[in-house]
């Protein structure tokens, strides 16, 4: 911890966050951000269908999208990348997404405390005034272990 961590920038982070892992597999990409919000996009893909009768993205990948946008909104708000863990995430589905439509997730971090961060947001398929879903979530910052000089995580 001898050097201060670099300033978090969602646009730059988006370039390397989605190269692999779960979010890379989903093909998430960065769209836009402000001081306390981030918008990401989940592209349409046939093998992510949830209901065999309709060409609509499943709700699972939309949760992944909102979880990732939540994390990035928290780092954007705090200004730094710190390890965080999702405690609780609620998704209220307003309507199915349009057929063969990508879904965008826009999440704002409206409050941070020393150990918690609160987020809310919407998923939409083109018109942010007609959301597909609303979400609300709470995240915990994973504390650095003071016994470790390098600051390992102690989330267990």
């Amino acid at each position: 911890m001898s050097q201060p961590p670099p300033q978090f920038d969602a646009a730059k982070a988006g370039k390397y966050f989605f190269r692999g892992g779960h979010t890379g597999w989903l093909g998430l990409h960065y769209c836009d951000h402000g001081d306390n919000w981030v918008e990401l996009e989940l592209p349409w893909r046939k093998d992510l269908i949830g209901d065999p009768d309709r060409a609509v993205l499943a709700s699972g990948p939309i949760i992944s999208l909102m979880d990732m946008a939540s994390g990035m909104a928290i780092w954007q708000t705090k200004g730094v990348f710190v390890p965080i863990a999702t405690l609780d995430l609620r998704v209220d589905y307003q309507r199915p997404a349009r057929e063969r439509s990508a879904v965008r997730g826009r999440v704002e971090c409206y409050r941070t405390t020393r150990s918690a961060a609160f987020v809310r947001g919407i998923a939409h398929d083109g018109d942010a005034d007609d959301p597909v879903a609303h979400i609300a979530g709470v995240f915990m910052t994973i504390a650095y272990d003071p016994r470790s000089a390098t600051g390992g995580s102690n989330d267990e």
Binding site: G20, G21, H22, T23, P52, S59, G60, I63, L87, Y93
Partner: protein, 136 residues
């Protein structure tokens, strides 16, 4: 009993694509399983919260579909909401999930779902879901 039988319906494309499979029946409810892999990974060595939620949600739908089939009912299932509680980080090994139907009404079902890795009595995540059952 369907204890030795496979699932009497297909899992959605998304579930199969993520690697979610039917594992076994416990007390008439299907247990689903997903193996760890790069398409699951969030922070290094751990499940992404979205992958965990996908497993929970599919286990909830599978429990409801199995019950509706057993009851001879057909309905189109529509999600109303889901609340996921993350209890501890899910590690780089297989995870399992099973849904319980708390209330099965005519139009709405309320389910609770738990996911675990080594011990079903020590869940890594849980969820509460409301699912609308549309008939037309």
């Amino acid at each position: 009993m369907m204890s030795d039988a496979d699932l009497p319906f297909d899992l959605p494309a998304y579930a199969r694509s993520l690697g979610i499979e039917f594992h076994e029946w416990i007390d008439g409810a299907p247990v689903l399983r997903v193996d760890y892999g790069t398409n699951i990974e969030g922070r290094p060595g751990h499940f992404h919260g979205g992958a965990t939620a996908g497993l929970l949600e599919n286990a909830g739908y599978a429990a409801l579909r199995a019950q509706l089939l057993a009851d001879g009912r057909t309905a189109q299932l529509k999600p109303v909401n889901i609340t996921v509680q993350y209890l501890t980080g899910a590690k780089s090994k297989p995870a399992f999930a099973r849904g319980r139907i708390a209330r099965l009404g005519r139009r709405n079902a309320n389910l609770s779902v738990e996911a675990w890795q080594d011990d079903p009595a020590r869940p890594v995540a849980s969820a509460v879901m409301n699912i609308l059952m549309a008939t037309d």
